[in-house]
């Protein structure tokens, strides 16, 4: 860049928390709500999620049925592309590995698309959601996940920017090709790694 420094700007950083990726700030106890669409009213008793596409046995689970499977907790940090990070938080749900083992993922599957009840979609390579990296969650810090944060059940992919963690998840489809989702066709990055600042298309 031509601008070596911004005239008169010193910045407020003190000791920067090493858990914060570049360009992120610590939101503390808060948790901003960011959604591009109207917040749907999803009844927990009627909610279900389907895993389909390139799998041996496409399967649909209700929340009650998910709760019978071995639970899994994520404890750590989350990062939103709008520059906030929430450190040291936790979610309870189920590992995506458990669901993928149940349906039998075919070897040709290379990508997934997450779909919400609203029609929102987001895409990821399968490596980003297997091996203990992704969850379906219904509790945040011991309380049921609220509607504005994606309740009753949302996806959680905490190592990537949070638009990759679809709220009100209703379907996970395994594909042998990449299908860019809602923000990915609307100017945001394909993968969204906060440590590489993959915010926008072209980063």
């Amino acid at each position: 860049m031509i601008v070596a420094t911004t005239r008169g700007f010193l910045g407020r950083r003190k000791e920067r928390d090493p858990r914060l990726p570049p360009g992120q700030y610590d939101v503390g106890a808060g948790w901003p709500v960011l959604t591009a669409e109207a917040t749907p009213r999803v009844d927990a008793d009627k909610w279900s999620v389907t895993v389909d596409g390139l799998v041996d046995t496409p399967t649909t689970w209700t929340l009650k049925e998910l709760r019978l499977l071995p639970p899994s907790v994520y404890a750590g940090d989350i990062h939103c592309v709008t520059t906030w990070s929430k450190l040291d938080t936790n979610f309870t749900g189920i590992s995506l590995d458990t669901l993928f083992n149940a349906v039998g993922v075919r070897p040709e599957a290379t990508y997934i698309v997450e779909t919400s009840t609203t029609g929102y979609t987001t895409n990821l390579p399968i490596e980003d959601v297997t091996g203990g990296k992704a969850w379906l969650v219904w509790e945040h810090e011991g309380k049921p996940l609220t509607r504005e944060h994606g309740g009753p059940v949302r996806m959680l992919v905490p190592h990537l920017y949070f638009w990759k963690s679809a709220k009100w998840i209703s379907k996970i489809t395994l594909l042998d090709h990449d299908e860019p989702g809602f923000w990915e066709v609307n100017g945001y990055h394909e993968r969204g790694d906060p440590w590489r600042e993959q915010r926008f298309d072209g980063d």
Partner: protein, 252 residues
Amino acid sequence: MSSASTGTDDQFGAPEDHAGGPNDRRAAAKWRDARVVEVAHPAVDAVVLRLAVPERVQHLPGQHYVVRLRAPDGYTAQRSYSVASAPGDELVELFVERISDGEVSGYLADVVEPGDELEVRGPIGRWFVWRGRTPAVAIGGGSGVAPLVGMLRNATDLGHPERLRLAVSATTRARLPYADELEAAGARIALTREPGEHAGRLDAAAIAELVDPAATVYLCGSARFTGAMETLLVDAGQPEGSIRVERFGPTG
């Protein structure tokens, strides 16, 4: 959100696909040095920056720019700000609300003056955009009116201001950015903490008057404001799938 529910305004036409046109995302992602041409402080805790952006990619009303500040030791801080100017404006106008203790907004409001250079990238965001071709309803709270002003100016430039219906809310007139311009355009104005002609709030009756299932609704403001408006809209019969939301958080 399925784009099928939102009418033809989403369809990307060939004229926008040329290099430097609104669909040139690679060019939009590039950081550029913009020159600050004008600085105005039109409302309490607000600053309007008018920037000359070299090799500018034309924006669509509703999009935003990212501004990045760089300290001498290499530390950077960046934030997004809505574009309030129409695409036809030769400058890019950004509206910045000065957040209490805001690292970036405080600098932009208190330090920046004409002639300064700022690193920017944009335009960004392809969802909260209105090209002005189809009917729209725009509802904004406080600084959330900024992108809606860009939509209004564009509709006026296109000769079709009647395609956009506007309703805006703020605590006082001094806290309503672009109040005179919005009033002149016939926007419904609700001031929640100021007596007079515009005293009141955007309640169920006010929102019911705006409902139009054939229109796309653009809703911009705080999480609390947009949440309340969403509920009123849906209760009054506006289809959920026709509502697009931009929530402003306290991001400094």
